[in-house]
């Protein structure tokens, strides 16, 4: 049995009096695609914030790749191989699509304090950025300002930026939010392709997406994991049906 790549041990988070995350236990294994579902307010985004370093847990542990990361800054966590996307598109609006991606690519080449080289002359950066653009099929929009892209193109860019970090573990926060059916199908294929040799945790509300994309699903209700299992196990779980999925007619 593989060791988990991410472990959450009795993770808790309170904001003043209100406890949002009430003791989450979760193990994610390398290479799996793991979905987290649950009703609004269950704490899914908060969980992502905790894992990616945006928030400090009130108590509990987060172990990523054998390293304790709770309380580390977002940049430290990212450098160790964990990248996340955002539910509300979080890109660089007045820069071109190419520039957006290049900023993400630059970091992995250690260029963050380099002021003595012209960027366009540094080998590999341009190439890698172009390759990434191709993978998310945005190369036609390379020189468009990111703020002027269509909504679904921006979501694709959002994911591309997350990927540019070449992460071991990638967290996608509601990537399909606000998309039409066709766009969603397209995005699912894209995500499946892009995460072939990585670990993925995805928060989503679209059940079709969740069931078709993920290897395992965890159901988060009121800040605790109600159940974890394969899509089959989850859809047949009585507790989950009661709390979230709803009773199926003629199971």
């Amino acid at each position: 049995m593989n060791a988990p790549i991410l472990s959450l041990r009795n993770l808790k988070k309170s904001f003043a009096e209100t406890e949002i995350i009430r003791g989450v236990e979760l193990n994610i294994f390398p290479g799996e695609r793991h979905a987290i579902i649950g009703p609004n307010g269950a704490g899914k985004s908060t969980l992502f914030h905790l894992i990616s370093g945006n928030l400090k847990p009130t108590s509990g542990e987060i172990i990523f790749n054998s390293l304790q990361i709770e309380g580390l800054t977002p940049q430290e966590i990212n450098r160790r191989g964990l990248a996340r996307s955002f539910q509300i598109t979080n890109i660089f609006p007045k820069l071109s699509v190419f520039e957006n991606l290049r900023l993400a690519v630059m970091q992995r080449h250690g260029l963050q304090y380099t002021f003595w080289r012209i960027l366009s002359k540094v080998p590999l950066i341009g190439q890698e950025t172009d390759q990434l653009l191709e993978r998310v099929r945005l190369q036609a929009r390379a020189n468009t300002l990111a703020g002027e892209l269509s909504y679904s193109e921006q979501r694709a860019l959002e994911i591309a930026i997350t990927l540019a970090c070449d992460p071991l573990l990638i967290l996608l926060d509601e990537p399909m939010a606000g998309m039409s059916h066709e766009e969603t199908d397209y995005m699912v294929d894209l995500i499946r392709e892009l995460t072939t040799d990585r670990t993925l945790i995805i928060v989503e509300h679209d059940m079709d997406v969740v069931f078709s994309l993920s290897d395992r699903i965890s159901v988060l209700v009121y800040g605790q994991v109600l159940a974890t299992g394969t899509p089959e196990q989850i859809s047949n779980d009585a507790k989950v049906r009661k709390a979230y999925l709803g009773e199926k007619v003629g199971a």
Binding site: G53, N54, L55, K56, T73, P74
Partner: protein
Amino acid sequence: MEYFIISLLNGAIYGLLLFMVSAGLTLIFGMMGVLNFSHASFYMLGAYFAYTLSPLIGFGMAMIGASLLVGSVGVMVERFFLRRVHNYGHAHELLLTFGLSFIIAELVKLFFGNFPIDYRIPVSLDFAAFRIGGADYPFYRLIMGGIAIAMFALIYLLLTLTRVGIVVRSAIYKPRMAEALGHNVPLVFMGVFGVGAALAGLAGAVAGAFYTTNPNMALELGVMVFVVVVVGGLGSLGGAMIASLLIGIITSICVGIDKSLADLFSLLGIGDWAQDIGGLLTLKLSSLASTIPFALMLLVLLVRPSGLMGEKEHL
């Protein structure tokens, strides 16, 4: 001992004046997310308006008149200037108010001259309230403190107990929701801006007679107000009060201390060494008094960046 009490009183009163100006600033920032750089200019205008009105309608009425005039200037600034650039973002609004403060200062210099003017307390108010340790304590200082406290109490009661106050607080906290509920939020914004300006104007009218009135007033006080707001936490009335009093009292106490760091070191036996180094170490605390608030601000930034009572920013 008397020195200490007098400094305490002076400092508290100066702190209360600072609070009158920074309260308006902090409310406006909490409401609109915009730092009104020209807020300290309202303070200056209050002094100058009062100075102009005083020979016409008497000192007391002039203070009220000046306050009302500055309030209407504030309303006009919000309505005709700020509203226009609201869509360009916070940095733009900040820059615009910066430009306005510049223009107001230049206009003051144009109409009143680039030197201090003779705005004074009327003789009827210029007497001693009591004596402490052989020195007279001016009655007017107590008036200043009293007015500041009265204003604070009035605003507090207004905000918490009246219907208007509740509407204002909801508009500050969640403007779009308040608007959806049918309240005229733009009007509320204009009103709060105007009241904040009027408060600053009143502070100027009151203080300008006692301290100096000159075209640089806005900047001198403005910087202090910003320090108060950084130390106390932007958006927090309580923080602003604590920070104002702290800064006022510490500055006041230090102004009379003619000792320097080198003197402190001499207590430890290394006085000569400190004297030789010179520079900062031999500067008397009394000369440094005006720089202490900045040191406090830098300290707060190191230890507790969101201010004494401000909300913590995300990592």
